[in-house]
């Protein structure tokens, strides 16, 4: 049972992120994500006023939390947490009640417009099981995304998490998210769209 000793995680090095959206594009083509919904995306925030301004990029995907609220509230046990930490949805079990969408603090779930079931990023577990990296990690042109096993002290991600100041989005939500960020800007997390929907 090798899988049980793993704790998979994702680390975004925002110092390297150029906001090119390649990760979102790679995900769309790898996972056949329909129009209008996203499994990962890059939020763009501009801070300050010219000439003292800068754009910040916040790539977001499912945090595959250690204590996922979506799995806690799923009425049919369609949300499943694997021993290596990946949280996925059983497509044959889900009834599309949207309770997971309502309770997720990160808003990473959507209802597939045709299949009418909940879907989200599961770190491309079909690729991970085949020994590959998730599509977004492989596609990132600047190498800003790391993926690997936090329980292996020699892996690139655990060294990077150990040697840098890291942060997660919304630690107060109590879900113990496993997507880490280097150089996370709190203003760009909290900035909300001001105009109406």
């Amino acid at each position: 049972m090798k899988a049980q000793n793993k704790r998979l995680a994702v680390l975004f090095d925002l110092r390297k992120c150029i906001g090119c959206n390649t990760c979102a594009l790679a995900c769309k083509s790898e996972n056949d994500v329909p129009l209008g919904v996203w499994r990962n995306w890059v939020k763009r925030v501009e801070k300050g006023r010219y000439p003292h301004s800068r754009e910040f990029f916040l790539p977001i995907l499912c945090n595959n939390c250690e204590d996922p609220i979506c799995v806690t509230v799923c009425p049919v046990n369609a949300g499943i947490k694997r021993p290596d930490g990946i949280v996925y949805i059983d497509p044959h079990r889900c009834i599309g009640c949207r309770y997971c969408m309502a309770s997720c603090p990160y808003g990473v779930r959507y209802i597939h417009p045709i299949k009418k079931i909940a879907e989200k990023c599961y770190w491309c577990h079909h690729r991970v099981d085949a020994g590959l990296e998730p599509a977004c990690v492989e596609a990132c042109p600047t190498g800003a995304i790391l993926f690997g096993d936090l329980n292996d002290p020699e892996s690139e991600i655990s060294r990077a998490v150990a040697e840098n100041a890291v942060q997660v989005i919304k630690p107060e939500s109590g879900t113990d998210p496993q997507t880490f960020y280097i150089g996370l800007d709190i203003e760009s997390v909290e900035a909300k769209q001001t105009e109406d929907k």
């Binding site: 919904v37 996203w38 995306w41 890059v42 939020k43 763009r44 925030v45 501009e46 801070k47 300050g48 006023r49 301004s53 754009e55 916040l58 977001i60 609220i69 806690t72 509230v73 799923c74 009425p75 049919v76 046990n77 369609a78 079990r93 889900c94 009834i95 599309g96 009640c97 949207r98 309770y99 969408m101 309502a102 309770s103 997720c104 603090p105 990160y106 808003g107 959507y110 209802i111 299949k115 009418k116 079931i117 989005i169 107060e172 939500s173 109590g174 203003e187 760009s188 997390v189 909290e190 900035a191 909300k192 769209q193 001001t194 109406d196 929907k197």
Partner: protein, 298 residues
């Protein structure tokens, strides 16, 4: 600091009108049931006339309510999964069993009531009270467990829902009893004393409901930033007209004044107050559900 979101995705709405409607109907059902047990469970004979109306309403409304859930869920033909793959930490799992047990109990209770078997009616009435409280209380837990949304994630939510359920149940009962007596009874005579008693009950339940809404708001205004944003949304933002004017002013404060001031105490005013309450509580459900998920999370 100028901070501007240049790009972000738009999220789908998780709950919406259908869920608000479902909460509204279960609330009306639970309220009607509790009213019908006043006479047949607790022996308050002045409410005997509404016992039968109450149980018929409770059953009918609870038969309609789950259809809104079936419309809402994406895979209605998989609804049987709810009874096979149980997750006891999910309020929806509790609810799927309550939604079966409660209408069955309502039908049995109603059957014995119409057969005039007082003792059996009483027993099933007492079994039904906790069921009625749970069938509406669990909907409060559904929202309270949605911990990402500040407007929902409060321990007050189940009791707030129950209070508004009883308020709307009394108001609906006043309307149904009036219509029934005026148009469908043999004597065409309205039992004014009963209506006035129900009106008084309604007035004091409105006070309790207002107290709960007030406490919820006060804590939201002091709590963490998401909670303050939610309070701003319903007090001064997009939902302020619905929340302040329709739900609370027209739906609670005006009916309360109409009901308690002796000069206004006539059938017409009680009926007007009841209509306002029935509409106001629907707006309350709508505001809680839709405003709760209005603010984007990221």
């Amino acid at each position: 600091m100028d901070t501007q979101v240049l790009y972000n995705i738009v999220h789908q709405e998780a709950f919406g009108f259908n869920i608000a409607m479902y909460f509204y109907l279960t609330g009306l059902s639970a309220g009607s049931f509790i009213l019908s047990t006043l006479a047949y469970g607790f022996g308050m004979n002045q409410y005997k006339a509404i016992g039968r109306v109450g149980v018929v309403l409770a059953t009918l409304l609870l038969v309609i309510a789950p259809f809104f859930l079936l419309i809402h869920i994406g895979m209605p033909h998989r609804a049987w999964h709810l009874f096979v793959y149980l997750n006891m930490s999910s309020p929806i799992t509790w609810g799927s069993f309550l939604l079966i047990l409660y209408p069955i109990n309502c039908i049995v209770y109603g059957y014995f009531m119409f057969k005039e078997k007082i003792k059996l009616t009483r027993i099933f009435g007492f079994i039904g009270i906790p069921l009625a409280i749970s069938v509406h209380g669990y909907t409060g837990f559904i929202l309270a467990f949605g911990k990402a949304r500040a407007l929902w994630n409060t321990a007050l939510m189940p009791i707030l829902f129950l209070a508004s359920a009883i308020v709307s149940g009394i108001a609906l009962m006043i309307l149904v009893v009036t219509v029934k007596d005026r148009f469908f009874s043999k004597t065409k005579k309205i039992d004014l004393e009963l209506i006035m008693n129900l009106g008084k009950l309604l007035a004091w339940m409105i006070v309790f409901d207002l107290f709960l809404v007030g406490s919820d708001l006060l804590v939201l205004l002091i709590s963490h930033s998401d909670a303050q944003a939610a309070a701003d949304l319903i007090l001064g933002g997009k939902f302020s007209t619905l929340f302040l004017i329709i739900e609370n002013l027209l739906g609670k404060i005006v009916p309360f004044i109409l009901l308690v001031i002796p000069r206004f105490r006539r059938l017409t005013t009680v009926v007007i107050a009841s209509i306002l309450v029935v509409v106001g509580i629907f707006i309350m459900r709508y505001v809680v559900v839709v405003a709760g998920e209005y603010i984007p999370l990221l």
